[in-house]
C-alpha cells in the first residue's frame, strides 16, 4: 500500500527581487542587498523542509494563467532562460529543472474525476513561468528535486471568488489523493503574496530598502489579520475570509493557490510557522510553513 503523504505546505511568495538580492549564479543581474527579512525567513523554511526528506515539490502558480482548464507541466526536463516581464532589470534567470511527470499525470487524472477541466502541457519549447521558478528556487536552490507545476485557472475573473475557491478546493483534494497514492513525500508550495498592490514606480536602486514599505496602512491591517489567523491555526476561517481579502487587498490569491493548499492540507488546525513578513515593491509577503506531522522532527 503506498504511503505517500504531504509532509510540508508553504506559503512561498515569488517576488523575483528576492533572487535578485541573493545573487545566485543563475541570475544575470546582481544586487548589493535587499529584502533580508524575507530571504532569511526562506532560509528557515528551507531548513525545516530539508529535515523531512522530501521527494517532490508541487507548486501552484498565479503566473501560469490559464483561462480554459487547469494545466500541468508534462515534459520531463526544462532548460531555458526566464526573464521577468515586469522586472526584467532584476530577473534573467537560467533554469534547469526536472518534472515529476508521473505525479503530474496522477494529479491530472484525480482532478478530472473531481469534474475539473485539466490538460497536460507537452510542448518542449514551453517557458516555465517565473512564479514557479522563483518559489522553487527559494525553497530548494539546489534544484535536486523534481517539481510539479500547476497553472492557475482564472475562474475568479469569469465567475467570482466563490467558484474559484470551489474549483481550487477540488484541485487540492485531487492533489492530496494523487500524492498519497504515489508513495512519495511531497512539499506543496502556494506561490503567492498576501496583499498585492504594487508601487508603479521603481527606486533608482531597486534594492534601496529606505524606499520599501507597504502601499497603505489598510493593506497592512489585512495582512496582519491573515497572519494572526495563521498563528492561531484558523485556516478554515482564512479560506472563509478570502473573498473579502482578495477584493480589499487586491490579493493574487484570486489565482486559487491558497485555497488549493489549504484543501490539500485538509485545513490544518495547528498554528502555521510564520518565518517572515515583509514588503516587496509595496506588496505584502509572508513565508509560512505548515507541517502535518508536526514542526519538530527528531
Amino acid at each position: 500500500m503506498p504511503n505517500g503523504r504531504i509532509v510540508a505546505g508553504a506559503l512561498a511568495p515569488h517576488p523575483p527581487h528576492l533572487i535578485y538580492a541573493e545573487n545566485p549564479p543563475q541570475n544575470e543581474p546582481t544586487a548589493e542587498c535587499g529584502w533580508e527579512t524575507l530571504r532569511w525567513g526562506y532560509e528557515r523554511l528551507r531548513a525545516d523542509i530539508d529535515k523531512r526528506d522530501v521527494d517532490v515539490l508541487v507548486v501552484h502558480s498565479p503566473h501560469w494563467q490559464t483561462y480554459v482548464g487547469t494545466h500541468l507541466l508534462g515534459v520531463p526536463k526544462f532548460d531555458s532562460l526566464s526573464v521577468d516581464p515586469i522586472f526584467p532589470n532584476l530577473f534573467r534567470y537560467h533554469y534547469e529543472m526536472n518534472v515529476d511527470v508521473e505525479l503530474a499525470e496522477a494529479i491530472h487524472d484525480e482532478a478530472v474525476s473531481e469534474g475539473l477541466e485539466m490538460k497536460m502541457m507537452r510542448n518542449p519549447d514551453f517557458r516555465v513561468d517565473y512564479g514557479t521558478i522563483v518559489c522553487c528556487h527559494l525553497t530548494r536552490p539546489q534544484w535536486d528535486l523534481p517539481i510539479v507545476s500547476i497553472s492557475s485557472n482564472r475562474s475568479e475573473s469569469y465567475y467570482g471568488v466563490e467558484v474559484m475557491q470551489e474549483m481550487a478546493t477540488a484541485l487540492g483534494k485531487a492533489t492530496r489523493r494523487a500524492v498519497e497514492q504515489s508513495g512519495k513525500k511531497a512539499a506543496l508550495l502556494c506561490s503567492s503574496s498576501l496583499s498585492h498592490r504594487h508601487f508603479t514606480t521603481e527606486a533608482e536602486i531597486p534594492e534601496d530598502m529606505s524606499r520599501e514599505h507597504i502601499t497603505s496602512h489598510a493593506l497592512y491591517l489585512w495582512d496582519m489579520q491573515l497572519l494572526e489567523m495563521v498563528r492561531k491555526g484558523q485556516t478554515r476561517q482564512m479560506v472563509d475570509v478570502m473573498p473579502e481579502f482578495i477584493t480589499q487587498a487586491k490579493s493574487e490569491m484570486d489565482a486559487g493557490s491558497f485555497a488549493w493548499l489549504m484543501s490539500a492540507l485538509d485545513y490544518p488546525t495547528e498554528p502555521g510557522e510564520v518565518y517572515a513578513y515583509g514588503t516587496v515593491i509595496g506588496t505584502g509577503n509572508a513565508v509560512v510553513g505548515w507541517f502535518p506531522e508536526g514542526v519538530a522532527v527528531s
Partner: protein, 483 residues
C-alpha cells in the same frame, strides 16, 4: 504638418489564425483578413509599425520593447498544444527610446526593455508574424499598464505622436485586442467555435458598425460601457481604444474597413483598418476630457506617512518661515508630492501646474529664488488660457498670447507667494517666445501691466518650440520673501 499616423489597425492576439487557420472557417477568414491588412500597410506611407498589446501588462509604468533583434521560440501559456512560434523581429530602438522620453515629458513613468529572452507576448508575436512577416518595417511594441486608466492611456498615446513627429517618421499603429473577450471555460472542438453568447455577438456587431463608419473616438468614449458589457475584467478597464484614438488624433474622420470577423474560442476577433479621411461622421459631443499631461500620483515611493503629513499640514501655522522643512518654505499653500531625495531647498506647490519633468517649481540658494521655466498651464486642470498653439494632430491653431502671458505671470505670482516672496521681488526675467514676430506686441502689453514699476531686468528670446503646446514661458530669478 500632416499627422504622423497614417493607418490604424485592430487585430486579435490569439494564436489560432497563425497556427491552425484550417481548424475553423472563422480562423481561416481571420487569417485572410490579416493578409489584407498586411497589404494595406505595405501600400501605406508607414516607416514603422507600432504595436500596443493588451496581452502585455506592465506594472512599473509603460514598457517599450527596444532590443534591436529580439529572437525566441514562443509558446502560448494557454494554447501551447497548437505549436511553437519561432520569431525574430526588427525593432526601431531609436523610436522606442523617443517614445519613452516623450512619455516621461508628459508626466508618465516609462522605460525601455532590451533584454535577450524577454517574453514578448503572444498577441504581439501573432500580430507581427502575420502583418509584417519579413520585417519589411521595423516595429516598436508597447505594453498596456495594468493600473492605467483613461487619462494615463490617452497621454501615452500622445507621447507616441510626439516621438514620431520629433523623428520625422510615419507609422501604422496596431492595437492587439479582441472585441468581446469571454473565452469558453471548457475545452471545445475548434470546428464548433462560436461567439460565447448572443449578447456578446450583438455588442460586437455594434462595434463593427462603428468601426466601419470610422467612428473611432465614439468607440473610445464608449470604452467604460464596453468594459461592463462584454469584457471579462482582467484589467482595470478596457483601454486600447483610448490609446488608439489618442494616437490617431481623437476624432471620427476615418475610412473604416472590417477585413474579417470571427470567433476565437468564444471571443470576438476582428481585423479592422482605419485610414484618416477628409470627412467622416464628424465630431460628436464627447463626455470625456482631452488630456495633455498626466498629473496622477505615480511618485509613491516616498514614505507614505510623511507624504500624507506634508499634504495636509497647515504649514505656516506650525513651522516658522525660514525653517528647514518644505512646508515652511511653501507657506500656507498646499504642498504637492516631493521626491524623498530632493534637497530641502527645492520648492514645490500645488498652486502652480505640476512640473512636466524631474524638477521643482523653484530652488532657494541663500536669499535668492531660482524658478524653473513657468508656462501658462493651469494647476487645476492643465488647460491653457488663450488656447494651445496646435491641436492634437499637430496642426497650428489660433491662440491668444496676451491671455497666455497673463496666465504665466499668474503662475509665477502663485509660486513666489507660496514661498513667502512676491512678484514685486522679481529681479530678472528671461522670456521665451515661439513666434517673436507674431506675439511680441501682445506679450509686451501683458508684461507691462504686471511688471511696470517693479524694475526687473528682462531678456526676450525667440525659440523654435516648447515642450507643451504653449507660446510663452518665463524664467525668473527673485529675492526670497525674508531677504
Amino acid at each position: 504638418m500632416s499627422h504622423p499616423v497614417v493607418k490604424g489597425l485592430i487585430v486579435p492576439g490569439l494564436p489560432q489564425p497563425l497556427l491552425t487557420p484550417e481548424a475553423n472557417e472563422g480562423y481561416s477568414r481571420l487569417r485572410g483578413a490579416f493578409e489584407k491588412a498586411r497589404e494595406e500597410i505595405q501600400e501605406s506611407e508607414a516607416d514603422v509599425l507600432i504595436v500596443y498589446s493588451t496581452m502585455w501588462p506592465s506594472i512599473i509604468g509603460h514598457q517599450v520593447q527596444a532590443l534591436p533583434e529580439p529572437e525566441w521560440t514562443h509558446v502560448d501559456e494557454l494554447f501551447h498544444d497548437l505549436g511553437s512560434i519561432p520569431y525574430k523581429f526588427r525593432i526601431d530602438s531609436e523610436l522606442a527610446g523617443g517614445i519613452c522620453e516623450s512619455a516621461q515629458g508628459r508626466g508618465l513613468c516609462a522605460r525601455t526593455v532590451a533584454y535577450h529572452g524577454f517574453p514578448i507576448d503572444t498577441g504581439s508575436v501573432v500580430a507581427l508574424e502575420l502583418l509584417n512577416p519579413n520585417n519589411e518595417l521595423p516595429a516598436v511594441i508597447l505594453s498596456s499598464n495594468a493600473y492605467a486608466d483613461r487619462s494615463e492611456t490617452v497621454v501615452f498615446g500622445k507621447s507616441v505622436v510626439d516621438a514620431l513627429a520629433a523623428q520625422g517618421k510615419k507609422a501604422a499603429v496596431v492595437v492587439v485586442m479582441t472585441l468581446s473577450n469571454r473565452l469558453f471555460t471548457r475545452f471545445i472542438d475548434p470546428a464548433e467555435d462560436h461567439i460565447h453568447s448572443d449578447k456578446d455577438e450583438e455588442w460586437n456587431q455594434k462595434l463593427l458598425e462603428f468601426f466601419a463608419e470610422g467612428r473611432l473616438e465614439d468607440v473610445a468614449q464608449l470604452s467604460r460601457e464596453i468594459h461592463k458589457q462584454i469584457r471579462i475584467p482582467k484589467v482595470v478597464n478596457f483601454k486600447p481604444m483610448w490609446w488608439l484614438s489618442a494616437v490617431m488624433g481623437a476624432h471620427n474622420n476615418y475610412a473604416g474597413t472590417v477585413h474579417g470577423y470571427g470567433a476565437l474560442y468564444g471571443t470576438g476577433g476582428a481585423v479592422i483598418s482605419l485610414t484618416p479621411a477628409e470627412a467622416g461622421v464628424g465630431v460628436k459631443e464627447f463626455d470625456e476630457a482631452d488630456v495633455e499631461v498626466f498629473t496622477g500620483n505615480r511618485d509613491v515611493l516616498g514614505g507614505s506617512a510623511n507624504s500624507e503629513a506634508r499634504a495636509t499640514e497647515p504649514a505656516a501655522a506650525t513651522v516658522p518661515v525660514g525653517g528647514s522643512s518644505h512646508a515652511a518654505h511653501l507657506g500656507a499653500a498646499p504642498v504637492s508630492e516631493v521626491p524623498e531625495n530632493e534637497p530641502e531647498t527645492a520648492l514645490r506647490t500645488s498652486a502652480a501646474p505640476k512640473p512636466v519633468g524631474a524638477y521643482p517649481h523653484a530652488r532657494r540658494v541663500g536669499d535668492l529664488l531660482f524658478l524653473s521655466g513657468v508656462g501658462p498651464r493651469q494647476a487645476a486642470d492643465n488647460s491653457i488660457p488663450g488656447g494651445p498653439i496646435r491641436d492634437a494632430e499637430g496642426n497650428p491653431r489660433d491662440y491668444d498670447v496676451y491671455a497666455q502671458t497673463q496666465a504665466v505671470i499668474g503662475n509665477i505670482r502663485s509660486i513666489l507667494e507660496a514661498t513667502g516672496s512676491s512678484l514685486e521681488k522679481v529681479l530678472d526675467v528671461t522670456v521665451f517666445l515661439v513666434d517673436m514676430d507674431r506675439d511680441f506686441e501682445e506679450f509686451n502689453r501683458a508684461y507691462k501691466e504686471a511688471f511696470e514699476g517693479i524694475g526687473a531686468a528682462r531678456t526676450t528670446i525667440a525659440i523654435r518650440a516648447l515642450p507643451t503646446p504653449i507660446a510663452v514661458e518665463f524664467k525668473v530669478l527673485a529675492a526670497a520673501g525674508d531677504a
